[in-house]
Symmetry: C4
Subunit: 205 residues, 4 copies
């Protein structure tokens, strides 16, 4: 005997958390009034904040697309899906903190490596949780909508899994070259957005 949840509120609640986490990122960006004498220079000097903003925005955007792809194929959620989803949201909503750390610590030679690794560990945790959620669902076919075929399941698995390896590699890279790693996270996120998979696949002539 097991409990089941419909997916409507799972979507609504998750969309709320994604939308807020993505929007709070801007609150960390600011210019001190003492720098107003040369405001263009001060605006330019915020580039680590913009890098952090764009990377976290694109990352959360990609996770939202992946989440969308997964939940649309669910017929219903069981208790474990609800718990894995809460865990995923907990890692996503945490992201503004390491984002802020990276923006502040870059160009600080004693701190930037730690900040970039810490940021990468949160991205890795997000990626592992999304993959785990999909693997769990794929292993419980009765949770899936009836028209989801084996090939579709494999396609989604292969698109959610590789990020884990990339994140692990870039976190390792962050020990040696933290600034390169910071751009590496952005590259992974952009690739993830361009590889995400829709609700349906249609043929076009």
């Amino acid at each position: 005997m097991s409990d089941r949840w419909s997916t409507g509120r799972l979507e609504a609640f998750s969309d709320g958390v994604f939308a807020i986490a993505i929007t709070l990122l801007v609150l960390e960006i600011g210019v001190k009034e003492t720098e107003f004498d040369d405001l263009w220079h001060a605006i330019g000097a915020q580039w680590p904040s913009y890098l952090g903003y764009v990377t976290s925005f694109v990352t959360i955007g990609g996770i939202w697309l992946a989440h969308h792809s997964i939940v649309r194929r669910l017929d219903q959620a069981d208790a474990n899906v609800m718990r894995l989803n809460l865990l995923l949201l907990m890692f996503v909503a945490f992201l503004p903190f390491p984002t802020k750390l990276v923006a502040e610590a870059i160009d600080n030679s004693s701190a930037e490596s730690a900040a970039v690794i810490f940021y990468g560990l949160d991205l890795l945790a997000i990626s592992v949780t999304v993959s785990g959620m999909w693997r769990y669902i794929a292993a419980h076919r009765d949770l899936l909508a009836e028209d989801v075929g084996a090939e579709e399941i494999r396609a989604i698995s292969s698109r959610t899994a590789p990020s884990i390896g990339f994140y692990a590699a870039v976190v390792a890279l962050a020990i040696l070259a933290p600034q390169v790693a910071a751009f590496g996270y952005l590259a992974i996120a952009v690739v993830a957005v361009f590889r995400s998979r829709g609700d349906r696949t249609v043929s076009r002539e």
Copy 2:
């Protein structure tokens, strides 16, 4: 004569408040730039903030699951349900303030007990309000969907009620051992998430 509300916007509005309260928790976490010389140590020293973040996140997650279970069984809401729901949201949206107090006051011997008790009182108020909302609905069967049986009502009552006793006990414990009590809140929240009940109960062979 009495007024009735459909439950669609009750869900949407409540999900919005839950999602925002859960996401704002991260704004309280930060590391001062003076601590960047040893950033790993500074990140580790934030453990009371992480404990507060995780505890409040899991608590609100559990309340969201309970709220979901309750509202899905409602056919329509009356004015008292709307008011109890606003009261619940008021206690939930308040949670970032005591969470911040606990994170700041732990390891401060003159303040930690007050902070942990104050936090527990908000959790107790949330728990009493959720229980009260369900008791009110259970006593007004015409608000419930037709297929909700007496056994299902009892099952939900028994899952929302015990938290009240646990919270009261842990608040009392906070007078003597505030740090133990802080972890006690986390334990209650984790148990609540693992006991929450779905929209339907299905049998599996």
Copy 3:
């Protein structure tokens, strides 16, 4: 010729703004670490913040109920309804600023009167806009769902209109007795929540 909008996203977007405005209120509350020696006293000394939090929360909750009552009776929105709704949301989303002012200025004899009047003017603007929105809709019957009767229109008009008079009176009172007026806003909000009208009126035996 005129443009029409369906009401689904009007509801979703407005619920988002209401939920966020109501939840941001808590960010203004805090205790300085210098006051941790006597934390219970410091928690108690925040009473103006709690009064502001509860008043603004209950006010926005009441406006949400009124908005819910209005939009549920709409068949479709025209461009003026969309604009009046944006104006309403602009006054609602502004509320955290005067709320913060009242919480900080109470007990400051030179500032509390201005803060309480400024807060009341925002409440008055909200109330006038909600009333105006309903009056506009009531005067354009083709916007309303077909089953909304003349008596129902009058009932909603009479429940949204009187707040305007009350707010004007309490704003005037704030010149002489600002602290009394601050509690007066709370009283108006509580009454509004208890007078709000559901989606349907049903008879009970």
Copy 4:
């Protein structure tokens, strides 16, 4: 072969971001306690903050109306629409930062021009992205709902396109007369709200 997304969560997620960006704007407004001796004067002296709040609010409100008009005419989204939408949300969620800069820098002769131009560049980016999203959809008729006619497509194109020219002109004006340009942005936003187009066009006798 291409992937398709249904538009329900696109709407929900975008509404969340719009609602939060619009509501966060108020967090930047505040009065220092040192100015409480003459609070009315201090409230009045915040006029640049109010101008920024109202301009950004009306701008985002207008973008929300335009977004609503576009998405309602979509039958389904493809991957490019999802990506353009994320890009749009990234520029919209960024707006609180230049809004804050304008509010702080106005009346500071060395900074106000840079702040107003920077703000205008974000508005221009938003406007170009909305236009680009509509152009892309109009060029892929299979994404549109069947009942959307050629004339309706032209009408929406002509209403989203001109803002680009206006924003470019006002950004140029900001080099010479930044305060005039700041009010120019407000004027463009108000006009956009008054020109937005509904879900359907109906004839009235």
